[in-house]
Symmetry: D2
Subunit: 367 residues, 4 copies
């Protein structure tokens, strides 16, 4: 539409122009806005996101989080020492995309982030370190390198660092979606934690982390996964197996040299959260993803390795800890220089549920 023909509404004389101006003024006074002056902006030929592709460097993120650890206490009121990645295209809002929130959260030695709950859905992904327990619904869940951890909406949760080392991780939430649609409910819990024990495995895992098995006492489909932690050892093993199967000649990988697992809700087989999809990708050295476009936005974090994210034709070198964002309908492709492991989350479940999802594979390379 942006490149459509000239609007038919162009006035033909000074008198007409004046009359039109008067009309538009009356529109304004009546809280009315004509479509015909806004159409190209409102209804583009294809998605024209204000959010921009962007890369945040771990080498910058972590020291700033650390500095916040020095200067800013964590506690009731501020609740969390989390610093959001703010997409440069989104008017200074702390939103990585129009729907998604990504933040680095930092917890110093023996610090505690108090309990609260909210309708926003949340997860944590641990790039490095260990020693924090997130307590979700009174269930302490250890956080360790490579783990993916869930806090579905309206579950009380707090965190404690049980060690003398600080720890930082990536938080992902649907805060922008909930904010933009006025869906937020928030409630404080106790200032301390409901359970300060530090078990190896959470109760959620003891109940749910058995492949294909469900506890009969807790059957029934749930909007969000009851499995609080997806451990790195399982993710890694699944990826290793896919690549081994590919090498043996079987269908297992997304494309040559590209293994991927979806974190899923064992009670439905669907996404872990109603609004957020998460998966983990492994590219062999020299492998690349097929260029594509997707409706909705996604956020990637490099777990290990080094490569290039090509977004809308621009090459961004990326390495350990770097976070990059792919706006709606941007073309993207990821190339591994050395072996490359990446965590990704997206808002695809929202648009699939509403029959708005589209994907386009660009066979001939990035356009």
């Amino acid at each position: 539409m942006a490149s459509g023909p000239i609007p038919a509404a162009a006035p033909s004389s000074p008198a007409a122009e004046k009359e039109l101006a008067e009309l538009y003024a009356k529109f304004g006074a009546a809280h009315m806005i004509p479509l015909w002056t806004q159409l190209g902006e409102l209804m583009p030929d294809e998605p024209a996101p204000r959010a921009r592709p962007h890369v945040w460097r771990w080498s910058e993120l972590y020291p700033l989080a650390q500095r916040a650890g020095d200067l800013v206490p964590v506690g009731r009121g501020g609740e969390r020492r989390a610093i959001a990645l703010a997409n440069p295209g989104l008017d200074g809002m702390p939103f990585v995309t129009p729907t998604l929130w990504a933040a680095i959260q930092y917890l110093g030695p023996h610090e505690v982030a108090p309990e609260h709950r909210h309708t926003q859905n949340a997860f944590r992904f641990v790039l490095e370190g260990e020693g924090v327990w997130t307590v979700v619904n009174n269930d302490p869940v250890a956080m360790r390198r490579g783990d993916f951890l869930l806090t579905p909406g309206w579950n009380f949760h707090g965190h404690q660092n049980a060690t003398s080392e600080p720890m930082a991780w990536l938080d992902g939430l649907d805060i922008p979606f909930v904010y933009g649609n006025d869906l937020s409910f928030f409630e404080y819990g106790p200032d301390g934690l409901s359970d300060t024990s530090t078990p190896e495995r959470s109760r959620a895992e003891r109940l749910w982390a058995h492949p294909g098995l469900q506890p009969v006492a807790l059957l029934g489909s749930r909007p969000s996964s009851p499995l609080a932690a997806y451990r790195w050892e399982h993710t890694d093993r699944a990826l290793v197996e896919q690549l081994a199967l590919e090498a043996e000649g079987h269908q297992a990988t997304v494309e040559p040299g590209h293994a991927a697992v979806r974190f899923s809700n064992p009670t439905t087989g669907g996404d872990v959260l109603p609004t957020i999809r998460a998966d983990f990708h492994r590219l062999l050295p020299g492998a690349a993803t097929t260029p594509q476009r997707e409706v909705g936005s996604s956020v990637w974090q490099v777990f290990t390795g080094r490569g290039t994210a090509v977004i809308n034709g621009v090459e961004h070198p990326v390495e350990h800890g770097d976070v990059f964002v792919v706006p709606s309908w941007a073309s993207y492709e990821i190339r591994a220089e050395v072996g490359l492991d990446l965590f990704r989350f997206t808002d695809a479940p929202i648009f699939e549920a509403l029959h708005q999802y589209r994907q386009l594979t660009l066979r001939g390379g990035t356009s």
Copy 2:
């Protein structure tokens, strides 16, 4: 949250203040924003919508649309002579709520609005008049007083006024939702209409408007209703029957003196569009709806009668053609002075699909 305790992050000395300011500056340069300064705004205790309750008067809407009919031609480029209702709280955007678009569209004698299609879902509701045919997927659909008409996403559609009288109606779309989430695809169709005939009943109705019957040739569930028109005669009869059944002592109405029908998708039993719910309400003289709050936003238009919309405790007298909006979680109640017929549409299907819908009945009256 807005009323939460003082953030723990308050600096304790001029030196600390300076260090913190430096940190915040570095955050800004790195496109990072701390959560702790924004929490109350981002994650309120309960929805704190920027959209405001507002009433647009038909006595103002219609003359301005008529004036636009005099001054602004309709045709390729501008596409539609539609004037959006802009919620005063939404920063000058042409959005009636964060997700919904409502506009008055006006077509003069023998005017034609050219064909196009887009991923935005649309409907029309006809307050008064007749003589326009909307051509959806080559199928001409007569528009008459009280009718509710569908244009699901990605169907080509245009309109023609086949008479010598102008006609205006209410358009409802999910433009803001699609815009905010970067989901828009748009394509021009032919400048003229693909079918200029003016049949009494559309082909869609001839296939689908038989109660409980589906054409075997076209079976299968669809995201949107294949029934292009819901005729006033059916809506009215259904409401008459509900009130008669209530009078005979049977369960049929929502509450005493309050009949209501949901426009539904016969292939699923669900909502007519993936993102929009629509229903029609009839209140007997003196009847009132139970005060309530709902997550998500809704837009009402008075079809006939006179009454009062009480939103967040403020009484708004409303009558024929007036449009009012209920933001997320606002308390609302509608009281009929004389018999009151109202059309309503909401974004509830979005939030039900994502398990974010909540409703609260306020038994003791509006708070």
Copy 3:
């Protein structure tokens, strides 16, 4: 399998034969049966139904029902003057197919069939006549020529003939399925009827028979349709429209000259009953259905006209009121001599739900 190679288990000597006989005797004593002697019978290459194609003539059915009306009173204990069509292949059981029950039910002038309920799902189809009201859940539903009427499982129901003329109709139920799987619950209601009024339209129709409209007070998906009656006037009109649309060049019919409607559950868009599908077919003079095979069984009744049912290559002339059965995977084709209207019901919902449904179109004609 029936035509498979000789079982490997054939004994090779008299001694071996004796030992085998001893083993088989021990199996018998232990309630054990070897698979290898039964495989071809138990697991045929394709369905080998014991149920046979068969035609019951209305000219025979009706007089016998009438005679039963003379000799056999209706009342508590026997409950219904219904005579089942017993498939000749099904060992003298009163089952028209392994899953379905079809019966002619006859009610003399002013007779009453008392109320009861059962988990078996039921419908009535009215070939001719009128004057009976079936009272379903206290709601009197008039039965008239061409109507399709529902009594979903566990709804109390009774019938009364309010006239001085007898009336007969076709009953369809899932009695064999419920019997074979031990699912039957049955409960007596009052001996008289809970409501003896004789309204033109049932309350169910007043609530639900408005195209695409649902009562807001009664929303929510249900296993069975809440619409108690599908009236002939709607069925006929839908078929007329499909054939008119076909003549105008639009897709509307199943195939040339073959219109068909599915009776559907407005709360789900699916079948009217969890275990029974019902539809109505109209063939123009000279038209024929494409030969096909389907898993599961179906029962047809000619409503009006004359034609030929070709089942497994055998031609059966059929006319007004004749009932014929198509067993699982039998090839079938229906040819209209004059215009032919047919009612059909099948057990397809069972096998679709269990992912066992298959259909095969036989393009080159019946094999």
Copy 4:
């Protein structure tokens, strides 16, 4: 119904009796059967299954299977050395219940059962032993003590014993359901096996046996589980954890001392097969299940331990390997003398899908 009042149809005089006899004879000739003489049998007040509670002793089953191993070769034609458990109430059919098949299958040293496929869904449960690989869709799956293994409908499969020891296991299928409803398709595969390798883990497990993780290359819901093997080590660990959590004071078990896991389809969260549910139960010494009734039938096999199955009030002592059957709506309760591990499968998915499932807890003990 069986205990209902005397049918109203009782004739009142010898003449009437004669007329009635003549009518019934005509019914017979016309393949018609009156309902009123059959009602109590056809539509009982509550399920009156012909299938009987019965216990098959492992001490009897295994020696007979072994003897069949001596006398009956396995190969093309007979296909499998499987001996079905024939419910004494089911007229000499090889059916353990009206819907379910249970058999002991025996494969001698180095024997091979050739490949075939059928629409019947199958599983294996391994009471003891190891050394057989079942090859499902070319994927060799090791069978070991305690494992639960799937062969969903229409997958080619064969078995080989790769050792010098015989092995026997329990087969479960929906053969009776498929037979009774004429749904069987059967096709021979190669006489040999498509893959004779003997890997520790199947490809299916390497792809799918990672808790909560799905291969992105193979996403999408499927009617049956893609996980070919549910290993004993996982089942056992899940049960151990449930009992440990119970001891720690958390909700994890079905009831005190009764842990249970459901084998589930990771792509849907539902049952492993469209027609068969399977789960595994562990009772602590002295624990008992709450007496209950369920619609549909179930088959249990004691894995380890010793206890009592109380079915319809009759106590059956059971131990290692014993198989017992609970017919529809029979009351049942299981009591553990020593710790008791049991495998169970049922047809509940059929009746849940069709809204026919009912369950009744008998709080006061077995009636």
